[in-house]
Amino acid sequence: MKTNKLILLTLALAWMFTSCERVFMAPNPGTDSVAVFDEYATLVKEKYAMLEFKAVDIDVLADSIRATITENTSPEELFEKVGTITLRLKDGHTVLIEDQQKSNSLFAFFDLEAGYAPAFDGDILVNNYIGKSVNRGMKTLDGGEGEGFRAVWGTLTQDTEIGYLWFPSWDISMEDSELETIFSDLKDTKGLIVDQRQNGGGDPALATKVAAYFTDATISTGYERFKTGPGPNDFTDSPLSLEPVNSENRYLKPVAVLTDRLVYSASTTFLYSVDPLSQVFTLGQRSGGGSGSVADGYLANGWYWSMSTSEFIDAKGRHLDDGVDADIPVALDLGDMTQDELIERAIQELQ
Protein backbone atom coordinates (compact mmCIF):
# COMPACT_ATOMS: atom_id res chain seq x y z
CA MET A 1 0.00 0.00 0.00
CA LYS A 2 1.38 3.42 -0.83
CA THR A 3 2.64 5.52 2.06
CA ASN A 4 0.20 8.39 1.49
CA LYS A 5 -2.79 6.02 1.50
CA LEU A 6 -1.46 4.48 4.70
CA ILE A 7 -1.16 7.88 6.31
CA LEU A 8 -4.67 8.81 5.20
CA LEU A 9 -6.06 5.57 6.58
CA THR A 10 -4.32 6.13 9.92
CA LEU A 11 -5.58 9.70 10.15
CA ALA A 12 -9.11 8.61 9.24
CA LEU A 13 -9.05 5.98 11.93
CA ALA A 14 -7.69 8.45 14.48
CA TRP A 15 -10.41 10.91 13.61
CA MET A 16 -13.06 8.24 13.74
CA PHE A 17 -12.05 6.97 17.14
CA THR A 18 -11.58 10.49 18.49
CA SER A 19 -15.13 11.15 17.35
CA CYS A 20 -16.20 8.00 19.21
CA GLU A 21 -14.75 9.54 22.38
CA ARG A 22 -16.88 12.63 21.86
CA VAL A 23 -19.98 10.48 21.57
CA PHE A 24 -19.33 8.98 24.99
CA MET A 25 -18.14 12.13 26.76
CA ALA A 26 -20.46 14.78 28.10
CA PRO A 27 -20.43 18.01 26.07
CA ASN A 28 -18.37 20.94 27.32
CA PRO A 29 -20.43 23.21 29.57
CA GLY A 30 -21.39 26.65 28.35
CA THR A 31 -19.40 29.71 29.36
CA ASP A 32 -22.14 32.31 29.04
CA SER A 33 -23.22 34.11 32.23
CA VAL A 34 -26.25 31.97 33.04
CA ALA A 35 -24.37 28.74 32.30
CA VAL A 36 -21.49 29.71 34.62
CA PHE A 37 -23.92 30.74 37.35
CA ASP A 38 -25.91 27.52 37.04
CA GLU A 39 -22.71 25.46 37.05
CA TYR A 40 -21.68 26.97 40.37
CA ALA A 41 -25.15 26.79 41.88
CA THR A 42 -25.36 23.11 40.89
CA LEU A 43 -21.97 22.38 42.41
CA VAL A 44 -23.09 23.93 45.69
CA LYS A 45 -26.44 22.15 45.61
CA GLU A 46 -24.92 18.73 44.92
CA LYS A 47 -21.63 18.87 46.79
CA TYR A 48 -21.82 21.39 49.62
CA ALA A 49 -22.28 19.39 52.81
CA MET A 50 -23.86 21.94 55.15
CA LEU A 51 -26.78 23.60 53.39
CA GLU A 52 -29.12 22.52 56.18
CA PHE A 53 -26.77 23.54 58.99
CA LYS A 54 -26.09 26.90 57.34
CA ALA A 55 -29.84 27.36 56.74
CA VAL A 56 -29.38 28.01 53.03
CA ASP A 57 -32.15 27.14 50.58
CA ILE A 58 -29.95 26.97 47.51
CA ASP A 59 -32.84 26.66 45.05
CA VAL A 60 -34.54 29.82 46.32
CA LEU A 61 -31.24 31.69 46.55
CA ALA A 62 -30.10 30.65 43.07
CA ASP A 63 -33.45 31.42 41.45
CA SER A 64 -33.53 34.90 42.96
CA ILE A 65 -30.03 35.70 41.71
CA ARG A 66 -30.42 34.06 38.30
CA ALA A 67 -33.39 36.30 37.58
CA THR A 68 -31.05 39.32 37.70
CA ILE A 69 -28.55 37.95 35.14
CA THR A 70 -28.95 39.27 31.62
CA GLU A 71 -26.87 39.20 28.45
CA ASN A 72 -25.57 42.62 29.48
CA THR A 73 -24.22 41.39 32.80
CA SER A 74 -20.51 42.18 32.87
CA PRO A 75 -17.93 39.62 34.10
CA GLU A 76 -17.44 41.68 37.28
CA GLU A 77 -21.17 41.81 37.93
CA LEU A 78 -21.47 38.09 37.28
CA PHE A 79 -18.67 37.41 39.73
CA GLU A 80 -20.47 39.44 42.37
CA LYS A 81 -23.71 37.52 41.76
CA VAL A 82 -22.00 34.12 41.88
CA GLY A 83 -20.03 35.28 44.91
CA THR A 84 -23.29 36.04 46.70
CA ILE A 85 -23.79 32.29 47.04
CA THR A 86 -20.22 31.87 48.28
CA LEU A 87 -20.60 34.51 50.94
CA ARG A 88 -24.04 33.31 52.00
CA LEU A 89 -22.54 30.01 53.10
CA LYS A 90 -20.37 31.82 55.70
CA ASP A 91 -17.71 29.17 55.37
CA GLY A 92 -14.01 29.96 55.37
CA HIS A 93 -13.33 26.89 53.23
CA THR A 94 -15.73 28.04 50.53
CA VAL A 95 -13.99 30.48 48.26
CA LEU A 96 -14.39 31.85 44.74
CA ILE A 97 -11.43 33.38 42.89
CA GLU A 98 -11.52 34.89 39.42
CA ASP A 99 -7.89 34.17 38.53
CA GLN A 100 -5.33 32.88 41.03
CA GLN A 101 -2.50 34.16 38.87
CA LYS A 102 -3.69 37.77 38.94
CA SER A 103 -2.65 39.96 41.86
CA ASN A 104 -5.79 42.08 41.56
CA SER A 105 -8.14 39.18 40.98
CA LEU A 106 -11.72 39.31 42.12
CA PHE A 107 -12.35 37.01 45.07
CA ALA A 108 -15.15 36.09 47.45
CA PHE A 109 -14.49 34.53 50.83
CA PHE A 110 -15.96 34.64 54.32
CA ASP A 111 -14.03 36.82 56.77
CA LEU A 112 -13.66 34.76 59.95
CA GLU A 113 -12.45 37.71 62.00
CA ALA A 114 -15.20 40.18 61.06
CA GLY A 115 -16.85 41.43 64.25
CA TYR A 116 -14.21 39.95 66.55
CA ALA A 117 -11.44 41.76 68.40
CA PRO A 118 -7.93 40.34 68.03
CA ALA A 119 -7.07 37.67 70.60
CA PHE A 120 -3.41 37.40 69.62
CA ASP A 121 -0.50 39.77 69.35
CA GLY A 122 2.89 38.50 68.19
CA ASP A 123 4.82 41.32 69.87
CA ILE A 124 3.22 40.64 73.26
CA LEU A 125 3.96 36.94 72.91
CA VAL A 126 7.58 37.35 71.84
CA ASN A 127 8.50 40.25 74.12
CA ASN A 128 7.06 38.72 77.25
CA TYR A 129 6.96 34.95 76.92
CA ILE A 130 8.86 33.21 74.14
CA GLY A 131 11.48 35.60 72.79
CA LYS A 132 15.12 34.64 73.34
CA SER A 133 15.74 37.88 75.25
CA VAL A 134 13.09 37.00 77.85
CA ASN A 135 13.17 33.21 77.82
CA ARG A 136 16.39 31.49 76.81
CA GLY A 137 14.87 28.10 77.52
CA MET A 138 12.40 28.26 74.64
CA LYS A 139 13.18 25.87 71.80
CA THR A 140 12.10 26.06 68.18
CA LEU A 141 11.89 23.89 65.10
CA ASP A 142 12.74 25.86 62.01
CA GLY A 143 11.13 25.57 58.63
CA GLY A 144 7.66 26.99 58.95
CA GLU A 145 5.92 29.23 56.45
CA GLY A 146 8.19 31.91 55.11
CA GLU A 147 10.97 32.05 57.67
CA GLY A 148 8.75 31.05 60.58
CA PHE A 149 8.92 28.19 63.00
CA ARG A 150 7.23 24.82 62.81
CA ALA A 151 7.00 24.62 66.59
CA VAL A 152 7.93 26.61 69.68
CA TRP A 153 8.08 24.95 73.11
CA GLY A 154 9.52 25.22 76.60
CA THR A 155 8.60 26.35 80.09
CA LEU A 156 7.42 29.83 80.98
CA THR A 157 9.53 32.18 83.10
CA GLN A 158 6.29 33.30 84.77
CA ASP A 159 5.94 29.78 86.17
CA THR A 160 8.70 27.33 85.33
CA GLU A 161 6.42 24.39 86.07
CA ILE A 162 4.05 25.37 83.27
CA GLY A 163 4.92 24.30 79.77
CA TYR A 164 4.10 26.20 76.58
CA LEU A 165 3.70 24.68 73.12
CA TRP A 166 2.82 26.62 69.96
CA PHE A 167 2.22 25.24 66.46
CA PRO A 168 1.74 28.31 64.23
CA SER A 169 0.46 26.10 61.43
CA TRP A 170 -0.41 22.47 60.69
CA ASP A 171 0.72 22.95 57.09
CA ILE A 172 4.14 21.51 57.89
CA SER A 173 6.03 18.26 57.94
CA MET A 174 7.11 16.86 61.24
CA GLU A 175 8.92 13.65 62.01
CA ASP A 176 7.73 11.38 64.79
CA SER A 177 11.14 11.83 66.42
CA GLU A 178 10.63 15.59 66.55
CA LEU A 179 7.30 15.17 68.30
CA GLU A 180 8.94 12.80 70.74
CA THR A 181 11.60 15.41 71.51
CA ILE A 182 8.98 18.08 72.17
CA PHE A 183 6.90 15.98 74.51
CA SER A 184 9.92 14.55 76.26
CA ASP A 185 11.02 18.10 77.07
CA LEU A 186 7.56 18.97 78.43
CA LYS A 187 6.68 15.82 80.33
CA ASP A 188 7.88 17.02 83.76
CA THR A 189 5.70 20.15 83.81
CA LYS A 190 2.58 20.22 85.98
CA GLY A 191 0.44 21.77 83.27
CA LEU A 192 0.72 22.66 79.59
CA ILE A 193 -0.49 25.56 77.48
CA VAL A 194 -1.06 24.50 73.87
CA ASP A 195 -1.37 27.70 71.88
CA GLN A 196 -3.47 27.15 68.76
CA ARG A 197 -4.01 30.83 68.03
CA GLN A 198 -3.40 31.96 64.44
CA ASN A 199 -3.15 28.32 63.33
CA GLY A 200 -5.38 28.31 60.27
CA GLY A 201 -4.98 24.62 59.57
CA GLY A 202 -3.02 22.32 57.28
CA ASP A 203 -2.53 18.61 57.76
CA PRO A 204 -5.31 17.10 59.90
CA ALA A 205 -3.30 13.88 60.21
CA LEU A 206 -0.51 15.79 61.97
CA ALA A 207 -3.00 17.57 64.22
CA THR A 208 -4.42 14.18 65.18
CA LYS A 209 -0.93 12.80 65.85
CA VAL A 210 -0.25 15.61 68.31
CA ALA A 211 -3.67 15.16 69.95
CA ALA A 212 -2.81 11.48 70.44
CA TYR A 213 -0.22 12.48 73.03
CA PHE A 214 -2.95 13.64 75.40
CA THR A 215 -4.76 10.36 75.92
CA ASP A 216 -3.90 6.88 77.12
CA ALA A 217 -7.11 5.28 75.89
CA THR A 218 -8.99 5.15 72.61
CA ILE A 219 -11.79 7.69 72.62
CA SER A 220 -14.59 8.44 70.19
CA THR A 221 -14.28 11.97 68.84
CA GLY A 222 -17.34 12.10 66.60
CA TYR A 223 -17.93 11.49 62.91
CA GLU A 224 -17.26 13.12 59.57
CA ARG A 225 -20.28 13.31 57.33
CA PHE A 226 -19.38 13.19 53.66
CA LYS A 227 -21.46 14.06 50.66
CA THR A 228 -21.48 10.82 48.66
CA GLY A 229 -24.00 11.68 45.96
CA PRO A 230 -25.90 14.57 44.37
CA GLY A 231 -29.14 14.17 46.31
CA PRO A 232 -29.89 16.37 49.34
CA ASN A 233 -29.74 13.38 51.67
CA ASP A 234 -26.78 11.58 50.09
CA PHE A 235 -24.49 11.49 53.08
CA THR A 236 -22.46 8.79 54.79
CA ASP A 237 -20.89 9.07 58.23
CA SER A 238 -17.34 7.98 58.98
CA PRO A 239 -16.91 7.60 62.76
CA LEU A 240 -13.53 8.68 64.06
CA SER A 241 -11.64 7.98 67.23
CA LEU A 242 -8.40 9.10 68.79
CA GLU A 243 -5.88 6.35 69.45
CA PRO A 244 -3.19 7.04 72.06
CA VAL A 245 0.30 7.44 70.70
CA ASN A 246 2.69 4.60 71.39
CA SER A 247 5.08 6.64 73.51
CA GLU A 248 6.36 7.04 77.05
CA ASN A 249 5.94 10.79 76.62
CA ARG A 250 2.17 10.99 76.61
CA TYR A 251 0.99 14.07 78.45
CA LEU A 252 -1.97 13.33 80.74
CA LYS A 253 -1.74 16.36 83.03
CA PRO A 254 -3.98 19.47 82.70
CA VAL A 255 -3.86 21.20 79.34
CA ALA A 256 -5.14 24.65 78.38
CA VAL A 257 -5.71 25.12 74.64
CA LEU A 258 -5.69 28.79 73.58
CA THR A 259 -8.07 29.68 70.78
CA ASP A 260 -8.92 32.62 68.59
CA ARG A 261 -10.98 33.13 65.44
CA LEU A 262 -8.21 31.89 63.21
CA VAL A 263 -8.22 28.47 64.87
CA TYR A 264 -9.53 26.78 61.79
CA SER A 265 -9.65 23.60 59.71
CA ALA A 266 -6.98 21.16 60.97
CA SER A 267 -6.85 23.15 64.20
CA THR A 268 -10.50 22.29 64.64
CA THR A 269 -9.46 18.68 64.06
CA PHE A 270 -7.09 19.07 67.00
CA LEU A 271 -9.83 20.68 69.12
CA TYR A 272 -12.44 17.98 68.53
CA SER A 273 -9.84 15.29 69.08
CA VAL A 274 -8.93 16.55 72.58
CA ASP A 275 -12.33 17.94 73.60
CA PRO A 276 -13.57 14.64 75.13
CA LEU A 277 -10.55 14.53 77.44
CA SER A 278 -11.44 15.67 80.96
CA GLN A 279 -8.05 17.25 81.66
CA VAL A 280 -8.19 19.48 78.56
CA PHE A 281 -10.05 22.80 78.41
CA THR A 282 -10.14 25.65 75.90
CA LEU A 283 -9.51 29.27 76.77
CA GLY A 284 -9.82 32.45 74.79
CA GLN A 285 -12.03 33.36 71.88
CA ARG A 286 -14.62 31.42 69.87
CA SER A 287 -12.73 29.30 67.34
CA GLY A 288 -13.20 29.79 63.62
CA GLY A 289 -14.41 26.25 62.90
CA GLY A 290 -13.93 24.91 59.39
CA SER A 291 -14.63 21.31 60.27
CA GLY A 292 -15.23 20.07 56.74
CA SER A 293 -12.98 18.54 54.15
CA VAL A 294 -12.49 20.67 51.09
CA ALA A 295 -12.82 19.98 47.38
CA ASP A 296 -11.80 22.44 44.68
CA GLY A 297 -11.85 22.93 40.95
CA TYR A 298 -12.45 25.34 38.09
CA LEU A 299 -15.69 26.51 36.57
CA ALA A 300 -16.07 26.39 32.79
CA ASN A 301 -14.79 29.97 32.51
CA GLY A 302 -11.70 29.23 34.63
CA TRP A 303 -12.87 30.69 37.95
CA TYR A 304 -11.46 28.76 40.87
CA TRP A 305 -13.83 27.40 43.50
CA SER A 306 -13.42 25.52 46.75
CA MET A 307 -16.08 24.29 49.14
CA SER A 308 -16.69 22.06 52.13
CA THR A 309 -17.94 18.68 50.99
CA SER A 310 -18.16 17.21 54.47
CA GLU A 311 -18.74 18.41 58.00
CA PHE A 312 -17.59 17.11 61.35
CA ILE A 313 -19.99 16.50 64.21
CA ASP A 314 -18.17 15.99 67.48
CA ALA A 315 -18.69 13.53 70.30
CA LYS A 316 -21.18 15.92 71.92
CA GLY A 317 -23.23 16.13 68.74
CA ARG A 318 -22.11 19.67 67.97
CA HIS A 319 -21.70 20.97 64.42
CA LEU A 320 -18.26 22.53 64.45
CA ASP A 321 -18.05 24.45 61.20
CA ASP A 322 -19.02 27.83 62.69
CA GLY A 323 -16.58 27.39 65.57
CA VAL A 324 -17.01 26.64 69.23
CA ASP A 325 -16.97 28.98 72.20
CA ALA A 326 -14.03 28.51 74.52
CA ASP A 327 -14.67 26.82 77.85
CA ILE A 328 -13.23 29.92 79.51
CA PRO A 329 -13.78 33.10 77.46
CA VAL A 330 -10.89 35.53 77.82
CA ALA A 331 -10.20 38.67 75.81
CA LEU A 332 -6.84 40.15 74.93
CA ASP A 333 -6.20 43.72 76.06
CA LEU A 334 -4.09 45.35 73.36
CA GLY A 335 -3.76 48.39 75.61
CA ASP A 336 -1.43 46.43 77.87
CA MET A 337 1.59 45.20 75.94
CA THR A 338 3.23 43.65 79.02
CA GLN A 339 1.03 40.62 79.27
CA ASP A 340 -1.06 38.21 77.24
CA GLU A 341 -4.32 37.85 79.18
CA LEU A 342 -5.00 34.42 77.69
CA ILE A 343 -1.63 33.03 78.79
CA GLU A 344 -1.90 34.61 82.22
CA ARG A 345 -5.37 33.14 82.79
CA ALA A 346 -4.17 29.76 81.57
CA ILE A 347 -1.32 29.84 84.09
CA GLN A 348 -3.85 30.50 86.83
CA GLU A 349 -6.15 27.70 85.73
CA LEU A 350 -3.29 25.23 85.55
CA GLN A 351 -2.19 25.72 89.18
Partner: protein, 261 residues
Protein backbone atom coordinates in the same frame (compact mmCIF):
# COMPACT_ATOMS: atom_id res chain seq x y z
CA UNK B 1 6.04 -41.66 39.70
CA UNK B 2 4.04 -42.31 36.54
CA UNK B 3 2.10 -39.09 37.15
CA UNK B 4 5.33 -37.15 37.28
CA UNK B 5 6.51 -38.86 34.11
CA UNK B 6 3.31 -37.97 32.24
CA UNK B 7 3.57 -34.37 33.45
CA UNK B 8 7.11 -34.20 32.14
CA UNK B 9 6.06 -35.67 28.78
CA UNK B 10 3.18 -33.25 28.45
CA UNK B 11 5.25 -30.22 29.41
CA UNK B 12 8.08 -31.29 27.14
CA UNK B 13 5.64 -31.72 24.28
CA UNK B 14 4.28 -28.24 24.83
CA UNK B 15 7.81 -26.89 24.93
CA UNK B 16 8.79 -28.76 21.80
CA UNK B 17 5.58 -27.75 20.12
CA UNK B 18 6.17 -24.15 21.14
CA UNK B 19 9.69 -24.08 19.87
CA UNK B 20 8.77 -25.79 16.60
CA UNK B 21 8.06 -23.05 14.01
CA UNK B 22 7.84 -20.32 16.69
CA UNK B 23 8.68 -16.68 16.15
CA UNK B 24 10.07 -14.62 19.00
CA UNK B 25 10.25 -10.87 18.79
CA UNK B 26 11.62 -8.21 21.09
CA UNK B 27 10.43 -4.78 20.06
CA UNK B 28 10.73 -1.16 21.05
CA UNK B 29 8.07 1.44 20.32
CA UNK B 30 8.45 5.18 20.21
CA UNK B 31 5.76 7.63 19.28
CA UNK B 32 3.21 10.18 20.31
CA UNK B 33 -0.32 10.48 21.61
CA UNK B 34 -3.38 12.66 21.39
CA UNK B 35 -5.19 12.42 24.73
CA UNK B 36 -8.49 13.39 26.31
CA UNK B 37 -9.92 13.42 29.82
CA UNK B 38 -13.12 14.36 31.62
CA UNK B 39 -14.12 13.78 35.24
CA UNK B 40 -17.80 14.60 35.51
CA UNK B 41 -17.72 14.30 39.27
CA UNK B 42 -16.20 17.77 39.40
CA UNK B 43 -16.49 19.34 35.97
CA UNK B 44 -17.85 18.65 32.50
CA UNK B 45 -14.96 20.54 30.94
CA UNK B 46 -13.01 18.26 28.61
CA UNK B 47 -9.23 18.24 28.67
CA UNK B 48 -7.28 17.67 25.46
CA UNK B 49 -3.58 17.38 24.86
CA UNK B 50 -0.65 15.47 23.49
CA UNK B 51 2.31 13.51 24.72
CA UNK B 52 4.93 10.89 24.08
CA UNK B 53 4.86 7.11 24.17
CA UNK B 54 7.48 4.48 24.82
CA UNK B 55 7.07 0.74 25.01
CA UNK B 56 9.16 -2.37 25.10
CA UNK B 57 7.64 -5.73 24.42
CA UNK B 58 8.31 -9.39 23.90
CA UNK B 59 6.14 -11.61 21.75
CA UNK B 60 6.24 -15.29 21.02
CA UNK B 61 4.08 -16.74 18.28
CA UNK B 62 3.66 -20.18 16.82
CA UNK B 63 0.96 -21.57 14.52
CA UNK B 64 -1.28 -22.35 17.52
CA UNK B 65 -0.78 -19.50 19.93
CA UNK B 66 0.54 -16.08 20.58
CA UNK B 67 1.65 -14.64 23.87
CA UNK B 68 3.29 -11.38 24.75
CA UNK B 69 4.53 -9.23 27.59
CA UNK B 70 4.84 -5.48 27.32
CA UNK B 71 5.72 -2.38 29.29
CA UNK B 72 4.26 0.88 28.00
CA UNK B 73 4.73 4.38 29.36
CA UNK B 74 2.76 7.41 28.24
CA UNK B 75 3.38 10.96 29.41
CA UNK B 76 1.89 14.24 28.32
CA UNK B 77 -0.05 17.33 29.21
CA UNK B 78 -3.56 18.56 28.58
CA UNK B 79 -5.40 21.83 28.74
CA UNK B 80 -9.03 22.60 29.36
CA UNK B 81 -11.29 23.14 26.38
CA UNK B 82 -13.01 26.22 27.78
CA UNK B 83 -10.37 28.04 29.87
CA UNK B 84 -6.63 28.42 30.33
CA UNK B 85 -6.35 27.39 33.98
CA UNK B 86 -5.19 24.11 35.44
CA UNK B 87 -2.86 22.48 32.94
CA UNK B 88 -2.91 18.76 33.58
CA UNK B 89 0.22 16.61 33.44
CA UNK B 90 -0.28 12.89 32.99
CA UNK B 91 1.88 9.80 33.44
CA UNK B 92 0.48 6.37 32.56
CA UNK B 93 2.73 3.33 32.87
CA UNK B 94 1.24 -0.08 32.16
CA UNK B 95 2.46 -3.68 32.29
CA UNK B 96 0.46 -6.13 30.21
CA UNK B 97 0.46 -9.83 29.46
CA UNK B 98 -1.47 -11.48 26.65
CA UNK B 99 -2.24 -15.00 25.54
CA UNK B 100 -4.20 -15.84 22.39
CA UNK B 101 -5.07 -19.13 20.73
CA UNK B 102 -5.60 -19.61 17.02
CA UNK B 103 -9.28 -20.34 16.36
CA UNK B 104 -9.22 -20.16 12.59
CA UNK B 105 -6.96 -19.00 9.82
CA UNK B 106 -5.42 -15.65 10.75
CA UNK B 107 -7.69 -15.25 13.82
CA UNK B 108 -6.44 -15.48 17.40
CA UNK B 109 -8.66 -15.12 20.45
CA UNK B 110 -7.80 -15.04 24.11
CA UNK B 111 -7.20 -12.70 26.99
CA UNK B 112 -5.05 -9.76 27.92
CA UNK B 113 -4.21 -8.87 31.50
CA UNK B 114 -2.98 -5.42 32.48
CA UNK B 115 -1.02 -6.56 35.49
CA UNK B 116 -0.64 -2.95 36.54
CA UNK B 117 -2.21 0.10 34.92
CA UNK B 118 -1.38 3.35 36.70
CA UNK B 119 -3.03 6.51 35.36
CA UNK B 120 -2.01 9.63 37.26
CA UNK B 121 -2.85 13.24 36.53
CA UNK B 122 -1.70 16.43 38.26
CA UNK B 123 -3.65 19.68 37.84
CA UNK B 124 -1.96 23.06 38.24
CA UNK B 125 -3.45 25.49 40.72
CA UNK B 126 -5.70 23.10 42.61
CA UNK B 127 -5.42 22.02 46.24
CA UNK B 128 -6.99 18.80 47.46
CA UNK B 129 -8.23 17.98 43.96
CA UNK B 130 -4.88 18.57 42.28
CA UNK B 131 -4.24 14.86 41.87
CA UNK B 132 -6.38 12.37 39.98
CA UNK B 133 -5.46 8.73 39.65
CA UNK B 134 -7.06 5.54 38.41
CA UNK B 135 -4.91 2.57 39.19
CA UNK B 136 -5.39 -1.16 39.21
CA UNK B 137 -5.43 -4.30 37.16
CA UNK B 138 -7.60 -4.99 34.10
CA UNK B 139 -8.67 -8.14 32.30
CA UNK B 140 -9.69 -8.03 28.63
CA UNK B 141 -11.17 -10.40 26.10
CA UNK B 142 -8.69 -10.04 23.28
CA UNK B 143 -8.53 -10.84 19.61
CA UNK B 144 -6.10 -10.41 16.75
CA UNK B 145 -6.71 -10.78 13.02
CA UNK B 146 -3.85 -10.92 10.56
CA UNK B 147 -4.27 -9.87 6.95
CA UNK B 148 -1.38 -9.34 4.59
CA UNK B 149 0.95 -6.97 6.37
CA UNK B 150 -1.73 -5.80 8.77
CA UNK B 151 -2.49 -7.02 12.22
CA UNK B 152 -5.81 -5.81 13.68
CA UNK B 153 -6.42 -6.14 17.38
CA UNK B 154 -9.40 -5.54 19.65
CA UNK B 155 -9.49 -5.72 23.45
CA UNK B 156 -12.70 -5.42 25.43
CA UNK B 157 -12.45 -4.98 29.19
CA UNK B 158 -14.41 -7.59 31.13
CA UNK B 159 -13.19 -7.17 34.69
CA UNK B 160 -11.08 -4.70 36.60
CA UNK B 161 -9.82 -4.09 40.08
CA UNK B 162 -9.60 -0.32 40.19
CA UNK B 163 -8.96 2.41 42.68
CA UNK B 164 -9.94 5.94 41.73
CA UNK B 165 -8.44 8.83 43.66
CA UNK B 166 -11.54 11.02 43.61
CA UNK B 167 -14.96 10.25 45.00
CA UNK B 168 -18.11 12.25 44.38
CA UNK B 169 -17.17 15.07 46.73
CA UNK B 170 -13.61 14.65 47.87
CA UNK B 171 -10.17 13.50 46.86
CA UNK B 172 -10.61 10.09 48.43
CA UNK B 173 -11.93 6.85 46.93
CA UNK B 174 -15.71 6.83 46.78
CA UNK B 175 -15.87 3.44 48.46
CA UNK B 176 -14.06 4.83 51.52
CA UNK B 177 -16.58 7.60 52.08
CA UNK B 178 -19.58 5.43 51.10
CA UNK B 179 -18.55 2.71 53.53
CA UNK B 180 -17.89 5.14 56.36
CA UNK B 181 -14.18 4.30 56.33
CA UNK B 182 -12.74 7.77 55.94
CA UNK B 183 -9.86 8.48 58.33
CA UNK B 184 -7.13 11.06 57.80
CA UNK B 185 -4.61 8.67 59.31
CA UNK B 186 -5.38 6.00 56.69
CA UNK B 187 -2.50 6.13 54.21
CA UNK B 188 -4.47 3.98 51.78
CA UNK B 189 -6.77 6.94 51.07
CA UNK B 190 -4.01 8.78 49.22
CA UNK B 191 -1.62 6.00 48.23
CA UNK B 192 -2.62 4.70 44.78
CA UNK B 193 -0.54 1.55 45.21
CA UNK B 194 -2.35 0.35 48.31
CA UNK B 195 -5.10 -2.10 47.30
CA UNK B 196 -7.45 -1.02 50.09
CA UNK B 197 -10.50 1.02 48.98
CA UNK B 198 -10.35 -0.35 45.44
CA UNK B 199 -13.29 -2.06 43.77
CA UNK B 200 -13.86 -4.93 41.40
CA UNK B 201 -15.95 -3.69 38.50
CA UNK B 202 -17.23 -5.38 35.40
CA UNK B 203 -18.28 -4.35 31.94
CA UNK B 204 -20.71 -1.46 32.25
CA UNK B 205 -19.41 0.62 35.12
CA UNK B 206 -15.99 0.01 33.59
CA UNK B 207 -16.18 0.35 29.81
CA UNK B 208 -12.68 -0.19 28.51
CA UNK B 209 -11.89 -0.60 24.81
CA UNK B 210 -8.67 -0.85 22.88
CA UNK B 211 -8.04 -1.21 19.19
CA UNK B 212 -4.68 -1.88 17.58
CA UNK B 213 -3.62 -1.66 13.97
CA UNK B 214 -0.11 -2.72 13.11
CA UNK B 215 1.34 -2.40 9.64
CA UNK B 216 4.61 -4.02 8.71
CA UNK B 217 6.69 -1.47 6.84
CA UNK B 218 9.70 -3.71 6.42
CA UNK B 219 11.41 -6.70 7.98
CA UNK B 220 12.04 -4.93 11.30
CA UNK B 221 10.01 -1.73 11.11
CA UNK B 222 6.32 -1.43 11.87
CA UNK B 223 3.78 1.35 12.22
CA UNK B 224 1.40 0.87 15.14
CA UNK B 225 -1.80 2.76 15.84
CA UNK B 226 -3.68 2.24 19.09
CA UNK B 227 -6.90 3.73 20.40
CA UNK B 228 -7.60 3.29 24.10
CA UNK B 229 -10.83 4.50 25.68
CA UNK B 230 -12.11 4.09 29.21
CA UNK B 231 -15.26 5.19 30.95
CA UNK B 232 -15.20 4.55 34.69
CA UNK B 233 -18.31 5.15 36.78
CA UNK B 234 -18.43 5.09 40.55
CA UNK B 235 -21.39 7.42 40.98
CA UNK B 236 -24.19 6.90 38.43
CA UNK B 237 -24.30 9.81 36.02
CA UNK B 238 -20.85 11.09 36.93
CA UNK B 239 -18.39 9.12 34.86
CA UNK B 240 -14.71 9.77 34.35
CA UNK B 241 -13.47 9.38 30.78
CA UNK B 242 -9.92 8.99 29.57
CA UNK B 243 -8.62 8.12 26.17
CA UNK B 244 -5.75 8.36 23.75
CA UNK B 245 -4.87 7.91 20.12
CA UNK B 246 -1.32 6.68 19.84
CA UNK B 247 0.89 6.34 16.78
CA UNK B 248 4.18 4.54 17.26
CA UNK B 249 7.05 3.34 15.18
CA UNK B 250 8.00 -0.14 16.29
CA UNK B 251 11.44 -1.62 15.78
CA UNK B 252 12.06 -5.33 16.22
CA UNK B 253 15.40 -5.74 18.00
CA UNK B 254 15.53 -9.49 17.68
CA UNK B 255 13.37 -11.65 15.47
CA UNK B 256 14.14 -15.38 15.51
CA UNK B 257 12.47 -18.14 13.59
CA UNK B 258 12.94 -21.57 15.06
CA UNK B 259 12.05 -24.48 12.85
CA UNK B 260 12.02 -28.12 14.05
CA UNK B 261 14.68 -27.62 16.73
Amino acid sequence: MYKKLWCFVILASIGLGASAQSQRTLSVDLGGTLTSFQDNKFSQVRFRGAGGAFAIGYQRQNPQALWSARLQILAGSESAATHDQGIATTINPRVELRYLRKVKENLFLGAQWDVMDFYNKQFDGLGNNSNYYLTGSNLFASGVYEWNKFRFGLDVGVLAYAKEGTGFAFSAPQSATENGEFDYLDDALINPFRLKHGKITGFGPNLHLRTNIQYQLSDRWNLVYQWNFRRYVQVPGYAAYMGYNMLNVRFDIRDKNKEGK
